[in-house]
């Protein structure tokens, strides 16, 4: 039987996109389907830490070794998504000495470069550390932009011929007896790029082999074919600060605990996190105590956080898994390792494997292992090349940086744009047309926004994750509408309006959790700008009942030769006090 594709990957997070790239590079025909945007699941909701492995150096040394290996690979193949911030494991006076020693030994056992700094030396690196910190271990942690890294994998998969379908939700697995041979998806707006307001269709996509890489949602997919995949989704909060209080990843050096990491990320710093098992990865409480804990507990390490401005909080759901029978109570104790569940071996149902567990830093290694498994199933003998070949945007970075001009942009903007685009800068930024800044907070220009629209269609949240537009201090208050303007005329007015409303609501979702101090003032300003001047809350275009324009003030009109259509006036009778009004018009030259 002829199939639509050789391998069908479910899920557009880092794992799914990594697998799609890997298999496409090995010459397989790949289709990837994702329910929302790329990174919409867990990938887009992580703290952005590129692990050195230090965090696992005591509890899980196998993971630690894998982390440092992948850390080094990502610096090579994804330089434009990674920032080499370095990291510190900071010990406070009340934190155990034994653990500090174990951490240091663990790092050395795992070949993680580690150096002990005194409290004073640590504060020289990070001046805002608390005055009483005891000492620290310096490790090569980094920051990574999960959005751009994931999108770069997807772009490269497409370059190798893969089909990437976003906004395509799997609504059924196609199963024939004990064989799974594809899925039914519901396209939000039809195949291809997303367009708001376009009616959806459904499509059956058949494949030689299906890879379920939906992470925390893997159980829901499994259930469609009566397979039990026991993921234990666990939520965690991330709180974003308006500036980088620290330029180094700051970890608390104690056995385990919530609120123990600060990751500098682009213009912000991200505080994390909590670890609470939830029953539904799409519906769980986002709670005030979690946000408060980030600020209160991490202020012990960096006291200025207490008074600093928080711009939003978001939650992610870890796709934790443990093999049946272990029964770990506390999700913090569940392994971060990943598991490949071959449903043929496990359940006697062929044609599909599920991937659960794992972590972002090692997505590539996971993808490699899973791709090896898929190749075995399909009898393909091709080896993995993803560790060697740079991702789009990271080719020849060093050479390019020397040769790149500023594309007519002011230097701070050009620098930011080039950091985001890497080696794609030339291709994206070189234009003969005016290239004004669309998002002031993040310095995102029209050319970048247009490049993102080109990739993803009318979904402004997809534009946001590709460019960082609307992700700065004002949280889109000043630029959401400007971003929407960029959709026109390629997309019509109604589509543009729908996309704007969706983006503005999405920004509010995270801002709600930062509503005090400066950010509450910002929220009021954003609300006022959109509701007051733009009337976004009562736009007659979005309401069913029409407006009778004829009953409103149509101006203080007097007979005027320039107004050839004065006769159309519907309200002339009301205009009794012409004297002052006509003098108004004269004085401003309006009456000719």
């Amino acid at each position: 039987m002829a199939h639509d594709t050789e391998v069908l990957v479910l899920g557009g997070g880092s794992t799914g996109c990594g697998i799609a790239r890997d298999l496409a590079m090995r010459g397989l025909e790949v289709t990837l389907v994702e329910r929302g945007n790329l990174t919409d699941g867990t990938t887009g909701r992580m703290h952005g830490l590129l692990h050195s492995g230090g965090r696992y150096a005591v509890s899980d040394q196998a993971s630690a070794v894998e982390c440092i290996e992948e850390n080094e690979i990502l610096r090579e193949i994804a330089g434009h998504c990674v920032e080499l911030t370095g990291g510190l494991f900071v010990q406070r006076p009340e934190d155990p000495d034994d653990y500090f020693r174990e951490k240091l030994e663990g790092c050395r056992d795992c070949d993680i470069p580690a150096r002990v700094l005194s409290g004073r030396e640590a504060r020289e690196v990070e001046p805002y550390l608390a005055k009483d910190v005891k000492r620290a271990i310096q490790v090569p942690d980094g920051a990574v932009d999960p959005f751009r890294l994931c999108v770069a994998n997807a772009i490269d998969a497409e370059n190798y011929g893969a089909r990437i379908e976003t906004h395509a939700e799997v609504i059924d697995l196609l199963r024939d007896g004990d064989d799974i041979y594809g899925v039914t998806v519901r396209h939000d707006s039809g195949p291809g790029k997303h367009t708001h307001k376009t009616p959806g269709t459904t499509e059956d996509i058949t494949a030689e082999y299906v890879v379920n890489a939906t992470g925390a949602w893997a159980g829901q997919i499994g259930a469609m074919a009566d397979l039990d995949v026991e993921v234990r989704p666990s939520k965690g909060v991330m709180t974003i600060m308006n500036v980088r209080q620290v330029d180094t990843v700051i970890n608390r050096c104690r056995p385990k605990g919530d609120a123990d990491i600060i990751v500098p990320h682009e213009t912000t710093a991200i505080l994390g996190t909590t670890d609470e098992e939830v029953s539904d990865p799409d519906d769980y409480p986002e709670e005030k105590w979690e946000v408060d804990m980030m600020i209160d507990t991490l202020s012990e390490l960096v006291p200025i956080l207490e008074e600093a401005r928080t711009i939003r909080s978001f939650w992610g759901v870890r796709p934790l898994y443990e093999p049946p029978g272990r029964g770990t109570k506390d999700p913090t104790d569940i392994t971060r390792d990943f598991f490949l569940l071959d449903h043929a071996e496990r359940d006697g149902v062929s044609g599909m494997s599920s991937i659960v567990g794992g972590k972002f830093t090692t997505y590539r290694a996971m993808a490699e292992e899973i791709s090896n498994h898929v190749c075995d199933q399909l009898g393909v003998r091709a080896s993995c090349a993803t560790a060697k070949e740079a991702l789009p945007g990271s080719e020849n970075l060093a050479v390019l940086e020397e040769g790149m001009d500023d594309f007519g942009l002011r230097s701070p903007i050009a620098r930011r744009s080039k950091q985001r685009l890497g080696s794609r800068s030339q291709e994206v930024l070189e234009t003969d047309d005016p290239n004004p800044v669309v998002c002031q907070c993040e310095g995102v220009t029209r050319a970048e926004v247009q490049d993102a629209i080109e990739q993803s269609g009318s979904d402004l949240n997809a534009v946001r994750i590709r460019t960082r537009a609307s992700m700065g201090n004002c949280q889109g208050g000043f630029c959401c509408a400007n971003m929407a303007n960029e959709l026109h005329p390629e997309y019509d007015e109604e589509t543009t309006r729908e996309a704007l409303d969706e983006l503005f609501q999405e920004r509010w979702k995270g801002e709600r959790h930062a509503l005090w101090g400066e950010q509450l003032s910002q929220a009021m300003l954003n609300y006022a700008l959109h509701a007051t001047t733009m009337n976004r809350d009562n736009d007659p275009a979005s309401r069913t009942e029409g407006v009778d324009y004829g009953v409103f003030d149509s101006g203080a009109q007097t007979a005027s030769p320039a107004r050839s259509d004065g006769g159309k006036r519907t309200d002339g009778g009301d205009r009794a006090d012409g004297s002052r009004s006509s003098s108004d018009l004269r004085s401003d030259g309006g009456e000719r």
Binding site: A523, T532, D565
Partner: protein, 428 residues
Amino acid sequence: MAITDDVLVIGGGIAGATAALAAAGEGADVRLVTHKQSTLRNASGLIDVLGYTHEGEGPIVDPLERLEELPKGHPYERVGAEAVRDALSFFDAVAGDAYAGSHTDSNALVPTHGGTVKPTARYPVSTAAGLASDPKDTLLVGFETLTDFDAPLAASHLEAAGAPFSARGVTLQFPGIVRDDAKLTRYAHLLDHEESVSTGSGDRSAREALASIVKPHLEGESRVGFPALLGDEHAAEVRADLAESLGADVFEVPMGPPSLPGMRLEDLLYDALEDAGVRVTSGVPVVGYEIDEAGAIDHVLVDRHGQEIPHEASQYVLATGGLVGKGVRSERDRVFEPIFDCYVPHADDRYDWFVNDVFGEQPYARFGLVPDRELRPLGADEEPEFANLRAAGAVLGGYDYAAEKSGAGVSLATGYVAGGRAGAEASE
């Protein structure tokens, strides 16, 4: 000896300026102190009175007629409909030729940069020719380098909003603008000062050059709308020249920040303050106060270059703005008024300060002081916090100016009443 006046107004937005003018009108010696740059540069320059009821019904045709329906505690309910009408007349007299709309009680529908229309009671004269409630075919002109106004999109949006005329939009390159990130004031300056710009056909004045690139796009429309950048000091001349060259009326579409019409309104108010003899000190925060034996405010302390200078008055008006202007502030567990610590009602749990729909009924949008009918802020015990303190504008709570489109109107009405009463009492 302390600096002494009859009335001290704290805050320099619409409410503070109106209060100072009204107090001066009562014959009082008035001083106005402001700390931060006023939020008028964020404002469209439109004078909204009431566009929608507190229940979201609208657009309202006659705002004054609908004031009766507002709930108890709303600032308009506090001052009464008659005072709102008087305050508008007061503004009309102050604004003179610069504003239009006083010929009728009806709201106008004004197209703004987002493309749709909004109801407003008074509008800058630069906007007068562009009313959406005036059925004339319209050409909108946008510029490549201004990302917050897309004229073709705004034109289709107006049609989608049911505007009773045909609208078209065109996007052009502004002559003489060489940097893609030129500030809005640069565009206005070029037109204001008739700078010479180079065009394909040699050097021309900026107004001529602009008109000449727009003219070929006119297809019989009787009016042409531009984003609000048509000059600053010489705005009327700029519009007149463009209109003459184009043979059509010319108007400005109100924009987001930085808003020239908002800044022009600020200039207008400050000119009026000067004419009225109000002493204005800018850039100075009020950092403390002392009370007299009777519990009234004796004097406030104003921080002038690090020195705390006492300012004494018999009456005080607090017009420091709401959350945006920082007249109302918040921390994780409280909302407060920072100068006099006047009572600001709010839920204890900050997760009750908002609702999940961004445009839902937002409790935070209603944060502010609770006044009596004299506009004296009340404490939790419902007694005036101080016998000689009144409050005006967005520092007051109990209304959502963004949803109602009532911001400028409330500031005018409460500023007028608070300032008038303070002035009258002080001059007694």
